[in-house]
């Protein structure tokens, strides 16, 4: 094995991150554990989203839909039909996956800005259903009181549960983007026409990416509904789709871990700034302008460029 003699730097980083994540509940306060759980969930959402944007070059502007379907699916089944978590969770994820397959089927027929608009339209359709179908979704007031089994009641227990699921999904995403399929997806992003010429069924590859991305977003959503013990209709609103896009771009869409970094940065910043002022949107807007005009490659891109520069110098 080529990695046997000195494990590459990324391995060390991975081990350090994992150790830090495992230590969070022991080292931090209850608040830190809560915050870390939320970051884990949104990091997963952002990574799943970036499978389409960073690897497939597809702008989905309605990704809140799958997150919300996963969340609502899990919450509705456990609140209204009293399904146990072990059944409601996978069922919510399955619903999100099916929705991603249906929506993706229509969306991959389009490209670029048309795709962004169609995904936005479907996203708003999901929102409208969640908002209006009060009998099932609770409408404007949302669904509260999602039951949580005793073994997940403690914040630390739920944290480890979330960490296990998020870890497994991130590993899956890693395998996907480094597999032959991942390379094929990147090829369709780089040049769809050429990819078609060498025999790649571009639309099918994009659809599969859509389904994987939507399904994992659904997992993030279902986790979030259990974490908060509630779901609100805002989770399907288009600004939520914008937020995950911001997380990805902030962290850097051309690196695997970038979106997770972006999710952590955005959530921490929001907490910090909301403590001081109600004008968080102004800060977010300003952050976006800086990212767009000063650091277009995101935080990860910046770090990588700095690393590259130091390598050149050495």
């Amino acid at each position: 094995m080529s990695t046997a003699r000195g494990a590459p730097r990324s391995m060390w980083i991975l081990a350090a991150v994992l150790a830090a994540l495992l230590a969070v509940p022991a080292a931090g306060s209850l608040y830190v554990t809560y915050l870390a759980t939320e970051i884990l969930i949104f990091a997963l959402f952002a990574l799943a989203f970036n499978l389409l944007l960073g690897y497939g070059g597809l702008i989905s502007f309605g990704h809140a839909a799958y997150f919300a379907i996963g969340a609502y699916g899990c919450a509705v089944l456990s609140v209204k039909l009293s399904w146990p978590l072990a059944a409601a969770f996978p069922a919510g994820v399955a619903l999100a996956t099916v929705a991603a397959a249906i929506i993706g089927y229509f969306c991959v027929k389009l490209t670029e800005i048309y795709l962004a608009i169609l995904t936005l339209a479907f996203g708003q359709l999901v929102w409208a259903v969640a908002f209006k179908w009060s009998a099932v979704t609770g409408g404007d007031t949302g669904l509260i009181g999602v039951p949580v089994p005793a073994w997940l009641d403690e914040p630390a227990q739920f944290y480890y549960f979330a960490l296990a699921i998020v870890g497994a999904c991130v590993a899956l995403l890693w395998v996907v983007v480094h597999s032959a399929f991942g390379r094929t997806l990147a090829a369709t992003r780089e040049n769809a026409v050429r990819a078609e010429f060498v025999g790649i069924h571009v639309k099918r590859v994009q659809l599969v990416a859509f389904v994987i991305s939507g399904g994992i977003s659904g997992i993030a959503g279902a986790l979030h509904s259990i974490f908060n013990r509630s779901v609100f209709v805002e989770s399907a609103w288009w600004t939520q789709s914008a937020e995950v896009l911001i997380m990805a771009v902030l962290g850097g869409i051309h690196s695997f871990a970038g979106p997770a970094v972006g999710a952590a940065a955005l959530i921490l910043l929001e907490r910090l700034i909301r403590d001081v002022t109600e004008y968080w949107p102004t800060f977010l807007g300003a952050i976006l302008l800086v990212v767009l005009f000063v650091f277009p490659t995101g935080l990860a891109g910046m770090a990588r460029r700095r690393a590259a520069r130091s390598v050149e110098r050495a």
């Binding site: 944007l53 702008i59 608009i117 936005l120 339209a121 359709l125 409208a128 911001i246 807007g285």
Partner: protein, 296 residues
């Protein structure tokens, strides 16, 4: 009651006046989308600025005759100037970048403008009085109907005709039409493309300001109204076809009527009906009812 033809007629007019007001706004959005290929999320925020400027000017000019109409002009001009500044300072640097960055930029504008308006005018619902002479109802023979809403219908049709005339019968319009089809060709022919972009962005944004000013007596102005309007305008533009002014007109009429009659057909689900309609159009004509198929 709902079987009454007069009631249907009133609903029809409600839908039409709503649709025509939205058309003025959506026309600007589709113009920008067609020429610049920028999906401007901030168009709703521009609309809201128009509403607040109108509120402000009506307040300042309280005693002047025709204060409302001066305010409408003021709001339109304010948005034109604002858009000019935005385009020159920021937007022009993003045309060559990926669509994602343009989306994020306009989203940043949504956030910044929303907070600025909140800081300036608070979160209350501010009502703008109807202009003198249009605050009553007009006798249409079979029923009375609010005069201002009839005026909105007229303004919508006049705007549509004016835009149609400019786009189809003037040199400037020809350039704009060409720009929606082939941008490289335009600059190859020696036209100043950046200037065309700037003018289209300014015109489209001014229409948002005009729409916001006109809507202010009916809807009042308050934070969050921009989100509702931008989503409705997106629906109109999507149904009609991206970049198509005729499509925006058709889409606005459809959206207005669906809103007015959807409440009768499927109470509480009229919103879903609109989205289902939009998704339906997109499934079979992804480029919209009057749009052109995407060039490959």
């Amino acid at each position: 009651m709902s079987g009454n033809p007069v009631y249907f007629f009133i609903q029809f007019l409600n839908g039409l006046s709503l649709g025509m007001n939205l058309f003025v706004i959506a026309a600007g959005l589709t113009l920008i989308l067609g020429v610049l290929r920028v999906l401007n999320f901030a168009h709703g925020a521009f609309f809201l600025i128009g509403g607040y400027v109108t509120y402000f000017l009506v307040d300042v000019l309280a005693r002047a005759p025709g204060a409302f109409w001066l305010a409408v002009g003021g709001a339109t001009a304010a948005l034109a100037i604002f858009a000019f500044v935005i385009e020159r300072l920021f937007l022009r640097h993003l045309y060559e970048r990926d669509h994602v960055y343009q989306l994020l930029f306009t989203f940043a504008l949504v956030l910044l403008i929303g907070d600025m308006l909140k800081a300036g005018w608070g979160t209350n619902v501010l009502s703008v009085p109807y202009p003198t002479g249009f605050d009553g109802a007009t006798n249409l023979g079979i029923t009375y109907y609010p005069t201002y809403r009839l005026l909105l219908c007229v303004i919508g049709f006049v705007t549509a005709f004016a835009l149609w005339f400019v786009v189809n019968r003037t040199r400037w319009g020809r350039v704009v039409r060409a720009a929606t089809q082939d941008r490289e060709m335009l600059s190859a022919l020696g036209l100043n493309v950046p200037r065309i972009y700037m003018l289209v962005f300014v015109t489209g944004s001014a229409l948002a300001g005009l729409g916001g000013a006109l809507a202010s007596p009916v809807l009042s102005v308050y934070p969050g109204l921009d989100a509702q309007i931008i989503v409705e305008c997106f629906i109109i533009v999507i149904i009609g076809g991206l970049g198509s002014l005729g499509g925006a007109f058709l889409g606005a009429i459809i959206l207005g009527q669906l809103t007015a009659f959807g409440i009768l057909l499927v109470p509480a689900f009229e919103l879903v009906l609109i989205y289902v309609m939009m998704v339906g159009v997109l499934m079979f004509r992804p480029w919209g009812l009057l749009g052109r198929q995407e060039a490959r």
